[in-house]
């Protein structure tokens, strides 16, 4: 893949910066920033409201973005893509609208040990609210999801299996079709949290077979505050609205109200048009690079990272040992140097990494580590970034002395 760093104004303006925290949020290419400005300069009005031309332009911009993003994610029915603020709101939408109308006392909800808090706490709290059972599928010794255990956990009373496409903490890529088969065999809804999947892998919503798939725009080169969830039409039709307000209604009477058609039924209030057109520009940018090329580039970086970081004494990498089995995320500890000490020392060299529990406390507890350092890669990273990380880690090791403890 060509070197795209110059497409990203923040990176181009900071040549000394080694940005390795894309799993938290990605940098934005010029094309995305331009699309947002262009929208406000040429088409800004409240969509769906006015009969005037400008409002029509805003409506077209908004739904044009929906169509482009749905196509990018492999969903033929664009009106089943509901825009939200991101994955967190998407999961809350499902747990609230679908969950409270479909999950009852005595039912079971199954999640996995790998989940981000958003895909863990939301279902845990639904289970507590309705009196359902909340079960967690554990990992095998090698750090993969234990599918045998999952088969046993997903019983006839299981209503939903919620799992991540890619683990944000370890980079593990889950076997989505296999998990979907297990869920569907029991008649359960299969929900895939794609926050870490959509930015890095070709999704193909229709082919994956999941009932719902969520994503966050800001992790895939788009702006913050926009994301969505694609849900099968059958499920959306059976769900009550998530929020009430303008746009989502059809007819409002004194005593009752009827709902607008999809996707409006689930999008109350003035929509985030700038976010949608920004995200549209982002997926166009990714499409032009080619998602297969993006994946190949990240595998190269992961392979290089596993080799270079693996060569540092005392460095322990969590999760899968091959680049094929993981996304561009490498989570590690270095001797007994605390991850926060490490990230401060790396920061001084301009290396941005995440240190902490990565919003996955239940996973960290199971791995028996309090926290780790996480380096995550994206299209603009190069092997030189990995080398800068390794060099900075060695410096940190020197400062702290290898002998202490």
């Amino acid at each position: 893949m060509r070197d795209v760093r110059s497409d990203f104004p923040l990176l181009a303006a900071n040549p000394g910066l080694t940005y390795l925290d894309s799993a938290a949020t990605s940098q934005k290419p010029r094309a995305v920033l331009d699309a947002i400005v262009r929208y406000y300069e040429t088409a800004n009005a409240n969509p769906h409201r006015g009969a005037y031309k400008l409002s029509g332009a805003a409506t077209d911009a908004y739904h044009g973005a929906r169509a482009t993003i749905a196509r990018f994610l492999g969903a033929a029915d664009a009106d089943t893509l509901i825009f939200t603020r991101g994955t967190t709101e998407s999961i809350n939408l499902l747990a609230t609208a679908w969950g409270h109308s479909h999950v009852h006392r005595g039912d079971r909800i199954v999640v996995t040990r790998l989940e981000h808090h958003a895909n863990f706490v939301t279902w845990q709290q639904l289970a507590r609210a309705v009196g359902a059972e909340f079960r967690i599928c554990e990992l095998t010794e090698s750090g993969d999801l234990d599918l045998d255990q999952l088969r046993a956990l997903v019983t006839a009373n299981t209503k939903v299996v919620a799992f991540g496409h890619v683990s944000n903490a370890l980079g593990t890529i889950n076997d989505v079709p296999q998990i979907v088969r297990i869920a569907h065999a029991a008649g359960a809804m299969a929900f895939c949290d794609g926050a870490q999947g959509a930015p890095h892998l070709r999704v193909g919503f229709d082919a994956l077979g999941v009932d719902a798939y969520s994503f966050s725009g800001h992790k895939m080169l788009g702006p913050m505050g926009i994301g969505g969830v694609i849900v099968s039409r059958r499920l959306l039709d059976a769900m009550p609205p998530y929020q009430f307000g303008g746009d989502m209604i059809e007819f409002v009477f004194d005593g009752d109200t009827t709902w607008n058609v999809l996707p409006h039924k689930f999008e109350a209030g003035t929509p985030n048009v700038e976010g949608a057109v920004g995200l549209e520009a982002a997926v166009r940018y990714l499409d032009a690079l080619g998602m297969d090329a993006v994946r190949a580039h990240e595998m190269d970086l992961s392979r290089h990272a596993l080799r270079v970081l693996g060569g540092i004494e005392g460095l322990v990498i969590q999760g899968a040992t091959t680049a094929e089995a993981r996304s561009g995320v490498v989570s590690f500890t270095l001797g007994d140097i605390h991850p926060h000490d490490l990230s401060t020392m790396l920061d001084v060299d301009g290396v941005c990494v995440r240190a902490g529990h990565h919003c996955a406390q239940p996973l960290m507890r199971a791995l028996k580590v309090a926290s780790t350092v996480r380096a995550s890669f994206y299209v603009y990273n190069t092997t030189a970034d990995v080398d800068a990380l390794a060099a900075s880690l060695r410096k940190a090791q020197e400062r702290f002395g290898a002998h202490h403890g």
Partner: protein, 147 residues
């Protein structure tokens, strides 16, 4: 924005030998004989925790000890703090805490802080202020419960 060189100097100030020494060989780490107050504070961001136990007699902290896991800054801060507060009254400790907070805010390091002045380098690293403060918060709780 500070240059990398400035930040490099800042790093040497942050991780000076005095701090690393306390981190490697913390003083007063472990249980104390008689406890009049004990309190645990956790930093949810990194999972670190510090427990401070004190023994107050005749209006002064006669003994203090800490336990817990954490980064070099938390550990060194706890180790130095336990030394600093021995023989002090609550009023004196409150004054010390104000001096410490002023130092973290970028002010002069007051002589009363003794060895803890070595933590003045933390001021430049905002993300780490919480680490340096954690033992103080635990101490505050331990004294709050005491007596």
């Amino acid at each position: 924005m500070p240059t990398t060189a400035d930040r490099g100097a800042g790093l040497s100030a942050l991780y000076q030998e005095r701090i690393l020494e306390h981190y490697r060989k913390p003083r007063h780490k472990g249980a104390i004989e008689r406890v009049t107050g004990v309190h645990t504070v956790k930093n949810p961001l990194c999972g670190d925790d510090v427990t401070v136990a004190v023994c107050e007699t005749d209006g002064v902290v006669a003994d203090a000890g800490f336990t817990g896991t954490g980064c070099s800054i938390t550990q060194a801060s706890a180790s130095m703090l336990m030394e600093l507060v021995r023989g002090r009254t609550r009023r004196e400790i409150e004054a010390l805490q104000r001096a410490f907070d002023a130092m973290l805010a970028g002010g002069e390091a007051d002589d009363s802080l003794g060895e803890m002045r070595a933590l003045s380098g933390v001021a430049a690293f905002k993300a780490r202020h919480k680490c340096a403060r954690l033992p103080w918060q635990a101490l505050e709780g331990a004294l709050g419960r005491a007596g």
